[in-house]
């Protein structure tokens, strides 16, 4: 019995599974960042928030035995950090890009500090839904083992899309993001809406973090996120600030993560360093393609233009 007879179906199934489970952190972080940026604020601290909430989810799940409680706490912690970031950037004179970098340093430092206790122990994981019981192929069966967070993410994307487009609150948020002066003159508090949007955005990112430690890879380790927080920010730009497009691009990014093992499976070994870099190269190329000098892209919130 040899591996040589690896068929393309197995590779396809593997990519499907990887796309689904890999997309979840990207989904939540990008949806959160999408909301934040719609309100005119850019939150580059997502990496720190992701790490801190991932660690919190694992810790709480390990201590209480309930992974859902872990996920909930992670969301709350994310929200708190988002509130911190939002308040910091509302102070006059504070550069929000610098604040984002500070949040990454602070969030990751805090996560590594408190997380020291949790590298070894196991934590109860989030349950999975089995959709592939009928499949004879183990790869397909594994691919169709889906976390409920995946569906939560899809629902969130639609809710966000609907909220931004059709509700009054969504209109206010977009107004604040597109033309803050005009919004202010209409009596809409730019400050309040930005703060709320940033907090909710970070809360969503917190859920994404919980997925990393409570589902895949399901451990806490300092290397658990390799820049995913920041790639999700880039993702939002590529998705042109549309929640539904964020959903689709997240699936794409998730699948790209499994490119390396799949290629090695097909026999293209040896270039693993360059393949390790492929998600980053991909993101960079997408960024270059989707941005333009005029900085006024279709869909870009007006207040963000001029922040590079």
């Amino acid at each position: 019995m040899h591996f040589n007879s690896v068929n393309l179906w197995v590779v396809a199934a593997a990519l499907l599974g990887a796309a689904i489970r890999g997309s979840i952190p990207y989904m939540f972080v990008s949806l959160g960042e999408c909301l934040t940026e719609k309100s005119g604020r850019i939150n580059l601290g997502m990496e720190g928030i992701l790490l801190m909430s991932a660690m919190t989810a694992f810790a709480v799940s390990q201590r209480t035995g309930s992974p859902w409680l872990g996920a909930l706490t992670a969301a709350i912690v994310g929200g708190i950090l988002g509130l911190l970031h939002g308040s910091l950037t509302e102070l006059p004179g504070v550069n929000d890009i610098a604040a984002g970098v500070a949040m990454v340093v602070f969030g990751s430092g805090l996560a590594f500090f408190f997380g020291k206790q949790f590298v070894a122990p196991m934590a109860p994981q989030l349950p999975v839904l089995e959709f592939g019981k009928w499949a004879s192929n183990p790869a397909l069966r594994a691919a169709l083992r889906i976390s409920p967070l995946f569906f939560l993410g899809i629902v969130t994307a639609f809710v966000l899309h609907y909220a931004l487009k059709y509700t009054r609150w969504g209109l206010h948020v977009r107004a604040v993001g597109d033309a803050p002066e005009a919004a202010r003159s209409m009596g809409i508090s730019a400050r309040q809406h930005r703060l709320i949007a940033t907090t909710i955005g970070a809360t969503l990112a917190g859920i994404g973090g919980a997925h990393l430690t409570l589902y895949f890879p399901g451990i806490w380790s300092e290397g658990i996120s390799g820049g995913q927080g920041l790639m999700a920010v880039a993702l939002v730009i590529f998705a042109r600030w549309s929640p539904l497009r964020c959903l689709a691009v997240s699936l794409f990014f998730g699948g790209a993560q499994a490119l390396d093992p799949s290629l090695q499976a097909l026999g293209f070994g040896g270039f693993y360093h360059l393949l390790n870099a492929s998600p980053y190269v991909l993101t960079l190329i997408l960024m270059i393609v989707s941005c333009s000098r005029s900085r006024k892209l279709i869909g870009m919130p007006g207040a963000l233009a001029g922040r590079g």
């Binding site: 500070a102 949040m103 430092g109 590594f112 500090f113 360059l274 980053y280 590079g308």
Partner: protein, 355 residues
């Protein structure tokens, strides 16, 4: 306009006092944090003092740590003055180290000073181009430099690993893939009889040079205008692109030079170990110094001492090794928050200020 009074203006006192107060507050918060963890409040600071400044022995430790911080700090600070914020220090560092290793190996038979100079030049060019690329992408293509430079960090490390473990690998470095070693005669030496290597001199000289460029040349003035308000700058006819790219190249060159020092003074060759995280610490230094080159020297020393005490905190006080990272994070946040306090205090208002 320039003041030639000997008394420092209230504004410059303010620019020292406010970050100093923020730093002290951060220290207090960190101390409180450690108490909660079971370590003694003053024990933490006495540890830092002992490991960082307590003796000539510890001073050397701090100076050693400060050297790469100065150069990496400049990498963020100079482009930031031109209006581009990047976090690509680590990538520039690694590319610089890689280029320096290649240059060093190519010039093994030349006299030491030729070899070292070519290593330095190679490091500067590689690092400079790397950051200039990120800056160029932002200026000409609107790609946010923080995101692109962070992505480029990962790409640089992967590229370096692929080369160091591939075509540049020394087959004798069996279980630890690395390039061929650079002979000790061609490595950077130590200062006097201390453990501190020439990298410290590079750092101080580079900081002074950048200060000079920014504060005493016309080019520097242009950079500050571009960084202050790019619209005004272009209205006035300044070539934005050229200025931004040059500033970014010089900044990136500093980080690349730090990479060269790491290869030429510390390791003697390139391997995965040159990606040691100095670049990321440099971001912190730049922001804590409010992008000012002279302050970078001082902040590097302080941060160097803090980092030097990390081991002591672990061994003597049983604090996890991430404690220093928490301290850095708190300092960073408070320094940023304190940005909002400038100009608010009557005490620091300068009656000589024009309206």
């Amino acid at each position: 306009m320039k003041r030639h009074s000997m008394i420092p203006s209230p504004r410059s006192i303010e620019s020292v006092a406010i970050p100093a107060i923020a730093f002290l507050l951060a220290m207090a918060l960190f101390g409180g944090f450690c108490v909660f963890w079971g370590a003694p409040f003053w024990g933490v600071f006495s540890s830092i003092y002992r490991a960082g400044f307590g003796s000539w022995y510890s001073w050397q430790n701090s100076l050693l740590r400060a050297a790469p911080l100065m150069l990496c700090g400049l990498c963020t600070a100079l482009p930031a003055r031109a209006g581009i914020i990047t976090v690509g220090n680590e990538g520039a560092f690694v590319m610089g180290g890689l280029a320096a290793a290649a240059a060093g190996l190519a010039t093994q038979s030349a006299p030491a000073w030729v070899s070292l100079s070519s290593m330095a030049v190679a490091g500067i060019i590689a690092g400079g181009l790397w950051i200039a690329l990120a800056a160029g992408l932002q200026h000409y293509r609107g790609v946010n430099a923080v995101i692109s430079s962070l992505l480029m960090n990962y790409i640089a490390i992967a590229f370096m690993l692929q080369l160091v473990e591939g075509p540049m690998r020394d087959p004798g470095s069996l279980n630890f893939p690395a390039t061929y070693p650079i002979s000790p005669s061609h490595q950077l030496g130590r200062l006097f009889n201390s453990r501190v290597h020439m990298g410290l001199v590079f750092g101080v000289v580079a900081s002074l040079l950048v200060w000079f460029l920014l504060e005493r040349t016309v080019w520097g003035m242009k950079v500050k205008v571009v960084g202050g308000n790019s619209r005004t700058a272009s209205l006035v006819g300044l070539p934005l692109g050229a200025i931004i790219l040059t500033a970014s190249f010089i900044g990136g060159g500093c980080a690349g030079l730090a990479g060269m020092v790491e290869v030429a003074a510390v390791h003697g060759r390139a391997s995965h170990a040159i990606a040691a995280g100095y670049g990321y610490a440099g971001i912190l230094v730049a922001f804590l110094s409010r992008q000012s080159p002279l302050r970078i020297v001082i902040v590097s020393l302080i941060l160097g001492a803090v980092i030097a005490s990390g081991g002591s905190l672990q061994r003597d006080l049983d604090l996890p090794d991430a404690s220093i990272a928490v301290f850095e994070g708190i300092v960073f946040l408070l320094i940023l928050a304190s940005e909002t306090l400038y100009g608010r205090f009557e005490f620091f208002r300068d009656t000589r200020d024009a309206f």
